[in-house]
């Protein structure tokens, strides 16, 4: 449905709600991975402010799942960014905070609703960078029940 004619993306994070146990460890892992120390205890005990998690977590009753940026091929957030803060780099949608003015065009067009605005700061709260530093998304790594999995080499034309 929300896909593009050319799908070049390699590595996509897939959310499987049947397997999500609602533990929200993905959010903890995301915050830790983007903290200064990258250490869960040091980060949560000693860092202020902590980065926001880039995950939008939905939960109602016993159903839950975690969503993060899909890094769309023809990303609307990149197309509609009026400053160039949202940009495509090596197939991933990267957010350059320093360029952002908080116009919310990306919030308007993100089909997955995973770009959360920080209205007071006029910036995006947090944007999934696919853990480019390590190459392994921390949310997928930590998920205890494979509710977040990495689908690789999904190349089709």
């Amino acid at each position: 449905m929300v896909k593009n004619s050319k799908r070049k993306t390699i590595n996509t994070i897939i959310a499987r709600e049947e397997f999500c146990i609602g533990c929200r460890l993905c959010e903890i892992a995301c915050i830790t991975a983007h903290s200064k120390t990258k250490n869960i205890i040091k980060a949560f005990k000693g860092e202020y402010p902590l980065p926001d998690s880039a995950i939008v977590f939905e939960e109602k009753g016993h159903i839950s799942f975690a969503l993060q940026c899909r890094h769309c091929d023809d990303a609307l957030c990149v197309e509609c960014c009026i400053t160039g803060a949202m940009t495509k780099k090596d197939g991933k949608v990267i957010y350059r905070k320093e360029l952002c003015v908080g116009c919310w065009m990306c919030v308007m067009v993100c089909s997955f609703g995973v770009i959360s605005p920080d209205i007071t700061a006029s910036k995006i709260k947090s944007k999934c960078d696919f853990c480019l530093e390590t190459g392994k998304p921390a949310c997928v790594e930590i998920c205890p029940n494979e509710a977040l999995v990495l689908k690789e080499d999904n190349e089709q034309d």
């Binding site: 499987r16 197309e79 509609c80 919310w104 919030v107 308007m108 067009v109 089909s111």
Partner: protein
Amino acid sequence: MNRTDYLIIGNSVCGVNAIEGIREYDPKGEILVLSDEPFENYSRPLISYYLGGKISQQQTRFRDESFYSDMKAQLLVNNPAVFLDCRNHEIKVSKGRKIRYKKLLIATGAKPWIPAIDGFANHLEGIFTFYSMNDAISLAQYIQSLNPHNCVILGAGLIGLKAAEGLLMRKIPVTIVEMADRILPNTMDVKGSEIFQSYLVRHNSAFMKNDTIVKIESKDKRIKRVILKSGKKIETECLIVAVGVRPNTSIVAESSILVKRGIIVDNKLNTSVPDIFAAGDVTESPDFFENKHALIPIWPVAAKTGKIAGANMTGQEISYTGLYPMNSIQIFGLPAISFGITNPQPQNFEILEKYQPENNFYRKCVLRDDRIVGCILIGNINRAGIYNLLIREKISVAAFKKDLLEESFGFLMLPKEVRKHIVVGESMEV
């Protein structure tokens, strides 16, 4: 005589996306871009941020400095196209110089419309439009040197209100004159207009609705006073005319290209003349809801059509499925997003709305046949893009109508099959 494979007239968001669209399919063909402005790259919506002193002129760029060299595109600034010779595939630029193209894209955008006002003259000091970087620079310089005690803005649309915000940030009180009976008449419904008006009044702006400027009085070649239709007089040394924009079609005026209000294009962004494409604000492009053409001068349309036109110039056959108006506006910290048909005649539509004045929360969905065709979100804009998705994909909301206005609206409210289809994507197994 210069020759190029691809010639693009216009270097704003549409032209820039066309460059990217071309390069996605043709890494080598020569690209030449003509701009009638002196700047290499700037983002029009950022001029209000510049006026308000939030960013520098350098920060109005929306592509990196290496963009044109990375894209192997040659940009000629200060080079307006002056004549189009369709038959010979030629564009004349200044000084009689000609450029021959294989494929041409007209992405000349729009220009501010200035209504006839008694006493208006181009040479008068203190009258501005608010559309280009040059407009913003001259306005900022004028304000700095003269420090006017107020400013009158004609037009309470998005451009007028963003100009107002920029001025208010420079501590200049504004009076906004609007012909309609409410502000933001094209973007908002009545309730939305009221919310924004009361918010702006608290921030030092005054509004004169159901009114317009009929006369400008000047002294020593500078504006001194405006006289309104109602008879009111406002002393001012600064007037911004922001009543709207019109497609900038002058380059095709003497050609055989079909033009109504804008250049008419088909869903591949072809004009009526072979090898000539047009995109963005200059065009009337296929409408999303109706089988007709529409003028939708907004960034998302310019970007999307520019990108598709660029690709199709290389021989692709990508279809543009049409878009609808969509706007994101934040004024003094109050965010709002609107999509599609926001203020319809109620008889043919179902309207759902929720308003909580105490926290500036307003949400409205306009439905037709159980599909969302329009939406307004004020105050809380979280996950606005999901509404956009529901509109674009024409998804029936019958099963979750009661949840549409919830602050916490999300995919969980959608039926499981729909949700999985969207979130996971039909081509991926679970």
